[in-house]
Amino acid sequence: MSKSRAFIPLLAFLALAGLFYFVLMKMGKGEYNPRDIPTEFIGRPAPSIDLPNLLDENDRVKSSDYAGKVWLVNVWGTWCPECWKEHEYLMHLSRQGVPILGIDWRDEKADAIDFLKQKGNPFVEVGFDPNSDAAIDWGVYGAPETFLIDAEGIVREKHAGALYPQVWQEKFAKYFHAQQPTE
């Protein structure tokens, strides 16, 4: 075997290791996140929502009521521990005047009402979605998931997992600054 040919595996491996190093550095700086699954809906008109109101049997929750506003859709359920975690922060956002439409997904009605009574209700309205009607339209993978819809009715951001101040600052806050606090 010639001398130079014996070095090929080593060089190929070092190139590969270089790629991995590059990716890890980007991940470390937060520039690259493989778990950040983009939703097809970003940049597209938000799917319409028409669900029974969790807290009022005679009412329906409709997305058309939110036209012209910057608003959030938060998919949650009492069965989801991460949703309990983010609840406090949603309350905070709600006090700041951020309109949040809640979708209570695959839940027990009584549990959900109880949860909101005990821990407070951060939502303008809560749609009850036990059969995943809206969740399927919105391409929900798991709970919690939060979407941001702009005044033109276009989905601008999506976050999978609990909402924390850091995520809020990075992804969502800018849409509210531009428009000046609502209400």
Binding site: M1, K26, M27, R35, W79
Partner: protein, 652 residues
């Protein structure tokens, strides 16, 4: 206190691993006998402390000691005992400890079974394995200590990932890890041989049984994972080309090539440098898999808690181990010459082609796995390379490999000719074409070209393997055949079963997603599925629904299936499919979502012909590997080398 002792045992194991690598390696190079002699006892002592540490972590799980962070995040008091034990290796930190333990067990096994190996070679092998232990133990102690405390301890732990709460999956990771770590043994032998400057047949002979056992573990581990995915994920699929599946499949491909190449090096003294390279590849790909899974650079259903700091450590480890060994290879292998000549038509050529195809297939899987990562990292967009790519690349590559199997097993070493081979394969060829084409028509009752091709290949392997066995047994009877030969027979017949399974399942399966009211039924594949509604279900750490589906054929009751939908305390919904297994078909029912208030559900029904043959094939292959490893030749040859007192037996 117990966790601190476990932690301390790990530190001691690290110190011993350092001793195990430094003194024997330096001693072997400089010829210091006492430093060489230290290798065996230190390696065994290292096992004692690693095992102690593992036992204490298991103890913490059994005692539900939630002051240990790892226990608190992966166990709770209502978890059944079996899953408390399997929880030990159910997440990142504990599975690393399991890696370290497995490596230590393999190392000690080498000291016990390798009595014939000359002390200097043994010292080098144990030294290399010691270096690998150092890497794993440091990784654990510096980035992922399973004994880290959580203060104040929570009253109750979280749940073990519900996906892992299954008997099949309790065993899937240990078998895989045994396979990955097992490839460290041929790797260590190859490096030791290069360090000693003697790249001959001896290291190949010593490595062969170890490689086979490691390969068997990996085969069983992958098969178990595939079987589990089939019945637990409720998608009815058995292989998804998921990056983590690929991470286990790449070492398997390289390991399969290595097994065949080792045979050539041992028996004929050919492919010396190539075999060393394959030994490095097989283990490097195992480490690469570990990196891909645990650094979080790729996404998959196999969610390990991952972070870039850990990724960086594994990358450093990877660069040291793989880079170091490939650099050694580059320096040493160029001096190796194989003086063995063989003809174009010979067993050597067939095995070389086998190796080339397996390595190319492996490279194709690697490319498909890393390509999305490369694009994403360069901001060229997110793509996913899925089954279409892999199937398009893999099937055309492996079909010639299977065709070659029949001839390779039959060809003579060194020199053979087509005139000589043709009469031997003639009957098999005709028979496999006839049976392969007729099978879809007669048995499956619908002709399909791809099915015919698959069945021809399967019959071809089957008939040629029988023919080789018959020829070999001439004059000495079946009992006179070596276990090695039987290993080849079962290995190849396992492949034939596997091909039957994948061919018929992928072509003739039918599936249906539908809504069924209580009492409503649906007919598919000649079976009527009647949904009898669902009842509430309460398990130790989950609640859920249990459906009842009665299956009848021509009005006769075949079976009653009970698919389940469970909601674990951790909030994760899980599907337990109801399956009626059979040799010629599986009937598979999974619950979707409850619909409306009348008790209707969405259900997924599958009729999967011959799907069992996939795992049956893997079992038969594994049996072949075990038979080969048990061949008495290794022991006899080993004893002879020992009595000759020469460090190496030169057969080439």
């Amino acid at each position: 206190m117990i966790p601190e002792i476990g932690h301390f045992a790990l530190v001691l194991a690290l110190v011993l691993a350092l001793i195990q690598s430094f003194f024997p390696l330096v001693g072997a190079q400089k010829g210091i006998a006492s430093w060489v002699a230290i290798a065996k006892p230190v390696a065994r002592l290292q096992l004692v402390f690693t095992a102690l540490s593992f036992a204490l972590l298991t103890w913490s799980f059994l005692q539900s000691d939630f002051s240990v962070l790892y226990v608190a995040t992966n166990s709770n008091t209502s978890l059944p005992t079996l899953y408390k034990v399997s929880g030990v290796w159910g997440a990142h930190e504990g599975s690393l400890l399991f890696w370290a333990l497995t490596l230590s067990v393999w190392t000690t096994a080498v000291t016990l079974f390798g009595r014939s190996i000359p002390p200097v070679m043994m010292a080098r092998v144990l030294g290399i394995l010691g270096l690998l232990s150092v890497g794993f133990l440091m990784f654990m102690l510096f980035t992922s200590n399973p004994f880290d405390r959580l203060m104040p301890p929570p009253p109750e732990g979280k749940d073990l990932n519900p996906l892992l709460q299954d008997p099949g999956l309790a065993l899937h990771p240990p078998l895989l890890y045994m396979g990955y770590v097992g490839f460290a043994i041929p790797f260590a032998f190859a490096i030791a041989a290069m360090l000693g400057g003697r790249l001959d047949a001896a290291w190949a002979r010593w490595s062969r049984p170890w490689t086979q056992v490691a390969w068997v573990s990996l085969t069983l581990g992958i098969a178990l994972g595939s079987w589990w995915a089939y019945y637990e994920l409720g998608w009815g699929g058995w292989w998804f080309w998921d990056p983590v599946e690929n991470a286990s499949f790449m070492p398997w491909l390289a390991g399969t090539a290595l097994m065949h190449s080792l045979a050539v090096t041992e028996k004929r003294g050919a492919f010396k440098a190539w075999t060393v390279l394959l030994a490095i590849f097989a283990f490097s790909l195992s480490l690469l898999g570990m990196f891909l899974v645990r650094s979080g650079v790729l996404t998959s259903v196999h969610a390990f808690a991952s972070d870039p700091a850990r990724g960086m450590f594994i990358l450093m480890f990877l660069v040291t181990v793989v880079g170091g060994s490939l650099a050694l290879y580059a320096v040493r292998a160029s001096k190796v010459r194989s003086y063995v000549r063989f003809d174009l038509v010979s067993k050597e050529s067939a095995l070389l082609l086998n190796n080339v195809i397996l390595v190319v297939a492996c490279a194709a899987v690697l490319l498909g796995t890393l390509y999305p990562l490369l694009l994403d990292a360069l901001n060229l967009g997110k793509i996913s390379v899925g089954p279409p790519y892999f199937n398009a690349v893999f099937i055309p590559l492996t079909a010639p490999l299977v065709a070659l199997m029949g001839i390779g097993a039959m060809a003579r070493w060194k020199r053979d000719s087509l005139e000589n081979l043709w009469p031997k394969v003639r009957v098999s060829l005709v028979a496999s074409v006839v049976f392969g084409v007729l099978y879809p028509i007669v048995v499956m009752q619908r002709f399909d070209w791809l099915a015919a091709v698959g069945m021809v290949l399967a019959f071809w392997v089957f008939f040629t393997t029988l023919k080789v066995t018959k020829d070999q047994a001439r004059g000495r009877g079946l009992g006179g055949l070596s276990l090695s030969h039987w290993g080849m027979v079962f290995g190849h017949i396992g492949i034939a079963f596997f091909i039957v399974g994948i061919t018929l399942t992928s072509i003739y399966s039918t599936e249906k997603d539908l809504r069924l009211e209580v009492g409503e039924s649906y007919e598919m594949g000649g079976y009527a599925f009647t949904f009898n509604g669902s009842t509430h279900l309460q398990g130790p750490n989950y609640s859920g629904d249990r459906g009842e589906v009665v299956i009848t054929q021509n009005g006769e009751k075949i079976t009653v299936l009970h698919p389940e939908k469970r909601n674990y305390r951790s909030g994760m919904p899980m599907t337990e499919a109801g399956i009626d297994a059979g040799l010629s078909r599986d009937l598979f029912v999974a619950l979707g979502e409850p619909l409306g208030t009348e008790g209707a559900w969405s259900l997924r029904l599958y009729h999967k012909p011959y799907v069992r043959w996939i795992w049956l094939g893997a079992l038969i292959m594994s049996l072949g590997g075990l038979l080969s490893a048990a061949d008495k030749r290794y022991r006899v040859l080993a004893r002879r080398t020992a009595t000759e007192k020469s460090p190496v037996g030169a057969t080439a």
